[in-house]
Amino acid sequence: MRQRRLSRWLAPLRETTGVSRWMFWAGVVIVAFFVVLAVFAPLLAPYGFDQVSDAGVRFPKQGSPDGTHPFGTTVGNYDVLSRVIWGARTAIEVVVLAVVFSLAIGVPLGLFSGYVGGRADRVLVLIMDALFAFPYILLAIVIAFLLSDKLGQGVVTAAVAITAVYVPQYFRVVRNHVISVREEPYVDAARALGAPRRTIVSRYVLQNVIQSVPALATLNAADAILTLAALGFLGYGIQPTDAAEWGYDLQRAIDDAGAGIWWTGLFPGLAIVALVTGFTLLGEGLNDVINPLIRARSTAKPEMPGRTGGEGEEAILSLDPAPGTDRPRGP
């Protein structure tokens, strides 16, 4: 049974062609690599993330890469390689927490708002749209700043700040999807047969709506890495003694650039780029796989009707992000 379901899930994946499939698998490989780094950081990293000396010998300050420090050391005497590896753990932790939080809040809210409708729906939409319009970095900074007094500047604070940014997105996607699904004949049929509301929502609506979530969650994970790094860069993220964080390291490295010291910024920066690219490729791949309308098949291309056709692509143009499509995202 499980086997069959799995193969049905994977069927669209087999149908996708060259570029999409390539993107998907490249994403899987990159993300898997960082997950391995994160999980085995204590084994893989040569030193601790806040270690500044070994066997009584202090690490050099801004030492260039050599045998003992393959990626060099920073202005704070940290070993860059170790901080890059430990940083993977921080990034994955924060992203997982942030995605779980935003799903836990955004999806039920969207389901409720879309299915119940009426005044509650209108008020929620208005609030979420207002938050959605807000420059997201500002929102994250202000929330991280306010929380730092109560929760300290750790992983949870960063995750909550990022959650506040993404809840409106899940809300919108889920709500809009629910509204379109709600009127489908099979939902009507269930209603006519006297199925209780709970069954209708959980079995017919949610099952359908939930499909658009994985792609969105993956793309948001990419975004979350950037937001985390931005928080760290501005000094509202995770403190260097709590955990290694790439954004913070880059902030410390900016002053090095003028002096031609490249290793302190290059490696954490590349780590961010690689992980974000990985999540994006994975998300785009999933998007192509899940959304059959924009999936280019290996067989002859289906003829799309004129202007109104191709919902998947049309949706990118409209202001409401349709399932799985992303809004233009920031730096």
Binding site: F134, D149, A257, G265, E313, L317
Partner: protein, 343 residues
């Protein structure tokens, strides 16, 4: 979703859109207000608590009205916004309006220049990607979009600073100290001010300083624009009128340039609006990277000093600006693209 004819459809749309913008502003203002009240302590104590005796603090609190119930503080805040007087910063007694005038111009100069870079890079690449679907331009454009998106502004900034320092290209501030000292600020836009003075070497100096931050910020946004233009061009190329033009025997070149390209550009306006919020967010990071004395770096500075009044004022302005810009964009869109009004 009633169908209505031309101009009345437009009027209804404009009115609805305007009516929708007001609650959005109100909600944003409320969110800002509540967030700032969640902050521990009142603004005066937070900023000056360590520096002033308790009695003086009490006096200042009373003057600023922080002993009143929260609902009347809220009313006062809304009143401030309506009268465009957002109060004075606690730490250095600058009015929020003057912060806007002095540092806002720097941010605006940066964002406008960045957006020009975005257009310069994004439009041609997006058109080429859409025109030659699945060709090298397309694959290259998509890859570029994904990878450039993955670059945080400050990392791209770091890389360009490394490069620039090799050539002695300036990487910090709006102008060299001497140039800045000599500059009469008329508009506070340095590029315009130096032009008005006719001082070419100063103009070149200012331009040099502007280039890197604008280039870096512009590049990071360009990926999104490429995607949108590409998708949109693919969409328009399937349109009936493109088919019709082909059937009339119009050459493919002219079909593409006269019919498809032009229509594919419509969403650029929308993107411009959506990007504005992102540009503002990105500007905070860019300003921190390049020591650009804009409103974003001021915000970070005031946050660090726990000057809640200044923070509240700046965040309020950002929020209102975003709503106004998105309103304008939607209206412009409704004028140029009739399909918008019928939705």
């Amino acid at each position: 979703m009633k169908e209505s004819s031309g101009s009345s459809g437009l009027r209804t749309y404009v009115l609805t859109r305007l009516a929708l913008a007001l609650p959005t502003v109100l909600i944003l203002l409320t969110v800002v207000f509540l967030l700032m009240r969640v902050a521990p302590g009142d603004p005066i104590t937070a900023a000056l608590g360590a520096r002033l005796p308790a009695k003086e603090l009490e006096k200042r609190k009373e003057e600023a009205g922080y002993d009143k119930p929260i609902i009347s503080q809220y009313g006062e805040y809304l009143g401030q916004v309506v009268t465009l007087d957002l109060g004075e910063s606690v730490t250095d007694n600058r009015s929020v309006t003057s912060i806007l005038a002095e540092n806002g111009s720097a941010t605006l100069e940066l964002t406008v220049a960045a957006f020009m870079i975005t257009l310069l890079v994004g439009v041609p690449l997006g058109l080429m990607a859409g025109r030659y679907r699945d060709g090298p331009w397309d694959v290259g454009g998509r890859l570029y979009g994904i990878i450039i998106y993955a670059f945080p502004v400050f990392f791209l900034g770091f890389l360009f600073q490394l490069l620039a320092s090799q050539f002695g290209w300036p990487t910090s501030g709006r102008a060299s100290p001497l140039v800045e000292y000599d500059l009469d600020s008329i508009t506070n836009f340095y590029v315009i001010d130096t032009l008005l003075q006719g001082d070419w070497s100063a103009f070149w100096d200012v331009l040099q300083h502007l280039f890197l931050p604008a280039f870096v910020l512009g590049l990071t946004i360009s990926g999104v624009l490429i995607r949108l233009i590409r998708v949109n061009l693919l969409q328009t190329m399937r349109g009936d009128y493109v088919e019709a033009a082909r059937a009339r025997g119009v050459s493919e070149r002219r079909v593409v340039i006269n019919h498809a390209f032009r229509n594919a550009m419509v969403p650029v306006v929308t993107v411009a609006g959506l990007q504005f919020a992102i540009l503002l967010g990105g500007a905070v990071l860019t300003e921190e990277t390049f020591n650009w004395p804009g409103i974003g770096s001021e915000l970070v500075r005031y946050l660090n000093q726990r000057d809640y009044i200044a923070v509240q004022g700046i965040v309020t302005v950002f929020a209102v600006a975003v709503v106004i810009v998105s309103l304008l964009i939607d209206l412009v869109n409704a004028f140029i693209d009739p399909r918008v009004r019928y939705r």
